[in-house]
Structure formats: C-alpha cells, structure tokens
C-alpha cells in the first residue's frame, strides 16, 4: 500500500465516522431495535473480505488453514447479513402492519 492510498483510506474512515454521527440523531424508541439490527446487518459488509480471501486462498491450490478460516468467515458473515436484514424486515413489517390497521 502506498502512502497516498493509506492517507486516502484514513480520510474515508474519519469522514464516514462523522457521517455516522450525523445520520442518527433523533430516533423514536419504536425504531431502536430495528435500527440496531439493521445497522448490525450492514456491518456484515465484511462478507466482501471473506469472499475475496475464500477465492484467492483456494485458488492457490492445496487449501491450508488460511483458506478454511476465510470460508468459515464467509459462512458467519452471510448469516449476519441475511439473518440481520430478514429479522429487521420482520420487525418493521409488524410495526407497519398495525399502523395500516388503525
């Protein structure tokens, strides 16, 4: 990694932190749980890293510890992503459902 790429990455990191602080300001209590589980699902983005390493590590033939660790990471990240979005959706549907029925 070159210095300029690193500085770029750190810039993005810091700015995204500020963005996160700005995005969530006043949240009604009804949404606390769905928001938390939705954010949790987004943090499953690490799935991208797991995918890349699963591929490269197995590509080199003779898969070792590294390859299987990446594959296990892929499974866990997918559980996090799919489960997280599905459960958030279920909760939000319930909240929306009762509002439609008023």
């Amino acid at each position: 990694m070159e210095l300029i790429t690193l500085i770029g990455a750190i810039t993005v990191f810091i700015l995204a932190i500020f963005l996160g602080f700005e995005l969530i300001t006043k949240v009604p209590p009804t949404l606390h749980t769905p928001l938390m589980s939705g954010a949790n699902a987004i943090s499953g983005i690490t799935i991208v890293g797991a995918l890349i390493f699963s591929n490269t590590d197995f590509n080199e033939g003779n898969p070792g510890v590294a390859a299987w660790l990446a594959f296990f990471a892929l499974i866990l990240a997918t559980i996090n992503v799919v489960g997280g979005f599905a459960v958030t959706n279920r909760m939000l549907n319930m909240i929306a459902g009762k509002r439609g029925g008023k």
Binding site: G38, F85, G97
Partner: protein, 470 residues
Amino acid sequence: MDKAVWDIGYLVASILFIMGLKKLGHPRTAPTGNLYGALGMLVAVVVTIAQMDFGLTNNFTLIIAGLAIGGLIGYYMAVKVEMTGMPEMVALFNGFGGAASALVAASEVFRRINENDLPEGLELHVAWIAIGLSALVGWVTLTGSLLAMMKLKGGVEIFGTWYRTPTWGPEWLNYVKGLVLISIIGLLYMTIEEPGNQDYVIAIIALSSILGILFVLPIGGADMPVVVSLLNSLSGIAAAFTGFIIGNNVLIIAGSMVGAAGLILTNIMCKAMNRQLIDVLFKSFGGSDKEQVTRTKVGSDPEEVAMVCDGISKCVIIPGYGMAVSQCQHQVREFADILEANGCEVKYGIHPVAGRMPGHMNVLLAEASVPYEKLIEMDDINSEMAECDVAIVVGANDTVNPAARSGEGPLAGMPIIDADKAGVVVIVKRSLSVGYAGVDNDLFYEDKTMMLFGDGKQMMTELVSSMKEL
C-alpha cells in the same frame, strides 16, 4: 476493461448503505431503509464475485455453497425467532459479524506467514496494525456478544442443568482488563518487529477473546441494552479495520458509519438510564448486594382489580421485562380492548429502557397489534399521569420505583414513569422481590397499590375474564 471500473459498484453500495441507515431512523421510511441496506449488500457481493479470477479449481461452486449455507442458516434463524428472543438474536448476529471480520484478518495473516509472503516497510505496518486491531475488536465482539446473549437469556442449560449467568466484577478486575489490553498492544508491536512469528498472532486472538468476557462479565442484565448496542458499534469498527486489510473503501465506509451510529444509540440508552457510559462499563451494578425485602403486602385478586377498573375514564399500562418473559402482550391488548369498549382511554407508558433492549416493549406490543399512537414516551406520559385513574404495571419494577427521585442508592437520578401519581396502581408481578438495581420498591407498599401476584400471562388472562363477567 480496467478492473477499477468495478469499484464504481462499491460506490453505489456505499451510497445505498448511507441512505438506508438514514431512512432506518424514521418510522415511515424504515422499511425502505432496510431494503436499501440489503440492496447495497447485494450490489457489493455481486461486484466482488464478478471481478474474481476463478483459477483451475472450481471455487465458484465453493463460494456459492458458502453463501447458501450461511444464507439458509441466517434466514431460518430470522424467521424462527420469537419476538421476545429478539435481543439475544441481535447479540448473536453481532458476534457473528465480529467473528467474521476477525477470521478474515486471521486468514490473511496465516496465509502470509505460511507462504512467507511478508510485506515490508509501510505496507507491513499498515497490514499488521489493521490485522491486529481487526482481530482485537472482532474477538472481543464475539466473546462479549456470546456472554451478553447468555445474560439476556439469564443462563444456559448444559446436560439438563440450568446454570445462571454470573455477574461478577470486583474493582481490581478493571486493572486486569487494562493489563490485558496493554499486553495485546505490546504483542501487536512485537508482531511488527517479528512478522513471521505466528505465536504472537495466536496470543493476540486468545487475549482478545478473554478481554471480551472480562468486559461483559461485571455488567448486570439490566445494562445489556447498552452493551449490545456498544458491541454493535464494535462489530462495525472491526469491519472497517478489515477494509484497511483488503484496501476496500466500502468496508471502511459501512463499518465506521455503523460504528458511529452504534455509539449514538448507546448514548441514547445511557441517557435514558441517566448513567454515564463509563459507569456502566466499569462499575459493577446490580446483581450483587441486593436489599433484603422485609416488608409484606397483601395481594389482591383479579376480581377486585376488575371492579376497580370498571367505569374508569383513563388508564395507563406500563409494561416491563416481565411482560416479555411471560409473553402476555396479547392478553394486555385484550384487556385494553375491553376497557376501551367501556369508553375508557387507554395509553401505554413506555420507559426507554423497559425490557432488555432499546425499543423492546414497542416491538412486543407491535406484535400484539397495539396502534403506534398509543405508545407514549416517558416524558409525555408523565405529564398525564396525575389525570390517570388506574395505572397498570405489568412486570416492571425499577422503571417505576420512586426511590429514583430520592437522590440516593443505585437508582438515584434515573428518570422513571410516575406510576405513583395515578389514582390506583395495579402491579402484576410474581413477588415483592427487588429489580435489577437491587432496591426495594416503596410503591408496592402504598395503600393505593394493588398487587396481583403471579405469572403475567395467567394474571392478565384472569383479569380479562373477570372484566368480561362484570
């Protein structure tokens, strides 16, 4: 075509995440927000797979298999979970997210060591620091979340014996935690000095796992909402560090954004309990030295309560964790329906930290199709409590304990719902025992208070049938 063009896909994914998170914060747009998030994830995954070189071995099948296994497990868990088990589920998913980031980091470091493909200079520093931090935060998130999940459940069953999750944390434990953290940072420095030695990496993993347990162990069950949302923040940070390892901006953006948003949510929780985050994390609270209950109170029966509730004009229902445990939200709603049919105004007073998770009560009552407009936040309901004829407290204790106003004891200064200002207070609870804060509740012994001792579901069912008989 230049491969960098694919990176535009990651930009699209990042934008979808940002808009998704923004929309998740507003009731009307929240479902769209969740959809945006899921869509962003799909874009990121497709873009990643699309630019892969599949070598001689057939990795494509393997990767699809991994996605299918994880997807099926995740979907199954999400569909099966009861609404009452939601906090545990979110804690568990948090742990998985953190673990995935930590495993990606471990995979990279072991590959480089095994193949003797060690980076040099700046790249070594960046890669190894990112890997070390990702491992640290990731493993802490995993073990911390698993322990938090067990605390939310109250215990674990091993071979038919129920073990209660312990809450233990003398003051010196804080120094141990500090020491472990310093050791990890020391080890991180040593991995950079001697990048080919994998013993250091294994030591970092082991110590981080221990740190996660030490971190959650002293924190009582009542503070778990704060812990779960803090761990949520950490799992985002772990993903961001993983982004530094693979040099991918979408991980850095999504991860640090979730990290910051999680901190805000943690802060909202702390404010609701009137506690400092530092106190929650480093001062053991509840669990130990509980006050002994010495006073007694004669319990009432459902018929008496039904008679009191007959013909009243305003009733406020205050739910707590007990409602989640006995899953009586449907009975509560049924009771409210009967009151409303008799011309009584029914509202629900929701304390921000009622239950074991932010918004726990709202989700449960939503399941029982209670209209959103009837769930009133603490500050708004308190101004109406004096006009309320009957306040019905279902399985709550600390959140209505007047001792919080006194300025002494563990509850001092915590905002409460002023149930004691109502004309009559009905409390549905198993016994007079103290809540998580370990403080006896004066409200139970007041003359205008009627105690309905028993399981929430059973008591509410009996109350409903008594109301029908009137």
